[in-house]
């Protein structure tokens, strides 16, 4: 999977933890880098932070969905409200998690997205 978040410490620790659980996770620290990376290797799931400088999370989501409509995207957000999550879902996201996340929850969501929930 591809993890996209501008906080490097966060994504690198998370990626390593996923590795330890047998999940291949690559990281990108901004939207453009993420899109570029996707041209090289296509992940099965993208985990995307919505609040990023430069190409914002929403824009990246749009582009990913434009290029790969079937690709599941899970959003990471700092918002706690249902409203924001729902808004994310209407834009095509396949799930969302509130930061700071529970790694087990992430894995569950990922499995669910992959099995076509």
């Amino acid at each position: 999977m591809l993890l996209v978040d501008d906080e490097e410490d966060f994504v690198s620790a998370l990626a390593e933890r996923l590795h330890l659980r047998g999940i291949d996770a690559r990281i990108a620290t901004d939207g453009e880098a993420a899109l570029e990376a996707m041209e090289i290797f296509l992940p099965q799931v993208v985990v995307l932070d919505v609040m990023m400088p430069g190409l914002g999370g929403a824009e990246v989501l749009k582009r990913i969905k434009a290029m790969h409509p079937e690709l599941p995207v899970i959003l990471l957000t700092g918002h706690g409200s249902i409203r924001e999550g729902a808004a994310g879902l209407t834009h095509g996201a396949d799930g969302y998690l509130v930061k700071p996340i529970d790694i087990e929850e992430l894995i569950d969501k990922m499995r669910g997205a992959l099995s076509g929930d």
Binding site: D6, E8, D9, A13, P53
Partner: protein, 596 residues
Amino acid sequence: MSSSILWVRVHPVTASRKNGIKALVNFSKVWKWLTSGFLLHYDKIGAADRYPYLRRNIILLMLAVTLIPLTFMAVINSHQYHSSLKTEIINPLYTLANKTKHSFELYLEERLSTVRFIASAYAYTELSDEKTLNRILRVMKTELGGFVDLGLIDNQAHMVSYAGPYELLGKTYSQQSWYHEARLRGTYISDVFMGYRKFPHIAIAVQQFTKEDLGWILRATIDTGKFESLIAAMGLDPASDAFLVNREGIFQTSSKYYGKVLERCPFSAPLGNYGTSVVEATDPQGREMLLVFARLAQHDFSLVIVTPRSVILRSWYTLKSEMFFIYFISVGLIVLVTLKLSGNLVRNIREADEKRELAFRELEHTQKLSSIGRLAAGVAHEINNPLAIINEEAGLMKDLVGYGADFPQKEKFLGLINTILKSVDRCKTITHRLLGFARRMEVQFEPLCLNDVIQEVLGFLEKEALYKNVQIRLALAEDLPQISSDRGQLHQVFLNVLTNAIASIEASGFIVITTWQEDDQTQGVSIQDNGCGMSEETLRHIFEPFFTTKHGYGTGLGLPITYGIISKLGGDIKVRSKPGEGTTFTIFVPTKPKTG
């Protein structure tokens, strides 16, 4: 003029106690209503209608309170004055009439007693002698005056002796009613008659008896010239007239305006009056006249004084017109002042209300802000607790990893622990900023000089600038006037901008700070650096909260907070930048606090 009487309906107090109590209760209710000032309470009325309503009520109240008593007083006063005026004019006339009446009475009485005296003092035989009669007449004329002739009439009603200018000797009076009246009464005074030679005369007759008990009459005629002089002696004004009338209303003296002697007087005497009375009547020319009738005691003559009402009332008319004038001017003034004053008053009240409402909202607003600020500050403090614990635990981890046996992941672990510690620091900064921001929600104004504030901030940054080899050049306006602003907030603003400027300089460079008076209301400060500059894209976002080009450190809060402070102070902030060349921040600070 008849006086008008105000009739006030008075509710009869019934004997029943119940009714009495009811009446009392009602009365107190009405009293309460009247004194509640209901007219001036406008709480229950909408804002738009409130002030016209208030103004209208104030005007009505003021006009009522001033005009009603004024009118009342004016009416009463004029009424009083009118009546007292009448009395004042009438009283002298009364007195005059009475006095003159007395003079007339006296005159007639004197003449009568003289004739009576003569008739008593002299015997019939003596008086029959014409020479004696003549002598007596002569004496009467010289001593007393007014006598025209003297005649002796025997009991056969023949004039047997005569002294005087007329040819009356031998005349018989048996047909004359006066003769019989004289014989009956003993004395007689006639009305005025036209004597021979057409002069008005009055005859006085006195009866006497001879030794033989035969009745004889001594008759004297007097002329009425004295009457005229008595009337003239009254000294009436030219417009007035006075004369004598008899019971039938025939002039006994000539009236100035109303007829000659023995003509009929157009005014009729009041009936049944035996004293002096005043009557109002209209004369033949239609003028309103005041008549004083004074009836003589012993004879049916009345002295009449006729005065035009206008003369009496002349001063009343002057007063009346003066009073009207004053009254209407007063009313006009009162109305004018009331309207103007109420308008001003209500306008002032409205402004005061609006100001108070505004101040209230400001206060509420401030309260709100400070409440929010306090809440947020509370939470921020609260968050420090878990952070502190994380800090401690991470420190402990560090020790455990450090002191433990060399294990393979040591480096990694230390790296992760450091990440944690750095994160805690980051949080601390954020909460500090938030706390500072919350504390600063209220702006406190004081007089200060921008140049001084900048110097103070430079004091904080001296070391850092020196360390980074940044030259600070000052182009501060001399004699920059003092302004009223918040020192603490301005510190924060300049601190933020200068920190950014210093941070944007890589190795060495300079910062130019300029201050100037932009216009009457504003002063300007520009902070220019020759650092790395910003792209157009960056420029667009720099005031957004949490936008930062420094990843990992820098909260992205500095400039948004700066922007917030400046806008709260009522100023403005502008940026110009070119990548590779540098950035200039221009800040405009108002000289006086701007409310709202």
